[in-house]
Symmetry: C2
Subunit: 223 residues, 2 copies
Amino acid sequence: MSKAVTLLSGGMDSATCLAIAIEEGNDCYALSFDYGQRHDVELGAARRIAAHMGVLEHRILNIDLGQLGGSALTDGSIDVPEQPGEGIPVTYVPARNTIFLSYALAWAEVLEADSIYLGINAIDYSGYPDCRPEYLEAYQRMATLATRRGIEGARLDIRAPLLDSGKAEIVRRGVALGVDFSLTISCYQADAQGAACGRCDACRLRRAGFEAAGVDDPTRYRT
Amino acid sequence: MSKAVTLLSGGMDSATCLAIAIEEGNDCYALSFDYGQRHDVELGAARRIAAHMGVLEHRILNIDLGQLGGSALTDGSIDVPEQPGEGIPVTYVPARNTIFLSYALAWAEVLEADSIYLGINAIDYSGYPDCRPEYLEAYQRMATLATRRGIEGARLDIRAPLLDSGKAEIVRRGVALGVDFSLTISCYQADAQGAACGRCDACRLRRAGFEAAGVDDPTRYRT
């Protein structure tokens, strides 16, 4: 068996990505972050998904990105937008994926893992710079040079199997792999019981995806 | 004035690097990490250097890399070698520079800084993969794509002005810029009073550098 570190946020994309990593024959080590996100209810979702899908280990690292500021997701004084806007939204967290991947890289190196999986996609997404294919390619190149494994000529694959998938396709793929979407939470401002606002970008993209796939969304929406 | 985030470990290289960033006309924001290093006495050195050199702000982020393990610097059960060895030494911390730079990238994005300075060098160094020029080039490319600034076509420079310098040259450059090397600590196992072991890789490289430069090393060595 090959080993994979899989980033797991608790949302539908990362849950589907984990299912793919398992399907592809990996022993999976799930990695989540308590990064000061306002929607930390997603960490409970991540825990339940990890347990349900039988990962070998699930770690939640505490890294307070809120102390650096700059995002509606980590700064309670900036509202989460409830209408689509122009450009990169205020929910963008500076360098978040770069930081997450860097911890995954460290853990992969310690575990001697062969790959890192992450559930980013660049179709039905919020326009974050660190979700684009060209970013990921550059990260792969950097990661290959960054580590012991790289010096020894081996490769650590950074795999984003959903990169080119729209949300409807992710829903269908998840259903086919038996993902229990009722365990997942996408909303940026879900309440403590996991009920979603139905209005933020993450809710809008999720709802539209399930609708386009013709699958019932098990999310409890407040509106 | 342009703004720069400067990584500051408390050692001689990062102190000299900060002096260069200031000399090059930057308003400097120093960033240090409490990462579970056994030689956390270096953080006191970082504080004194930051204050002495008049940075605009100095942040010490608490990121416990010890929980991922894999290094003599973060795992008390692995001894720091006191003889030169072959290959990448056990003092290598998996993905450390990648993680440090990623936080610097996040802070630079929030501050709208123009550059990040780091004091790595690839001449008199310990053979860590993430200190090599090809690694840094790849990081630069990734960083340009990772951020809001990159999408907008602007550049965030990752500057490693000591990359091609030997230790003696760093000493001479630091002296010319007025760096107070008595404030810096290089040793991997300095005691609480800042006295250095004189035997680890970091001590050996430092001692040889001062000697070759013909400058008195103000370090108090235990041996």
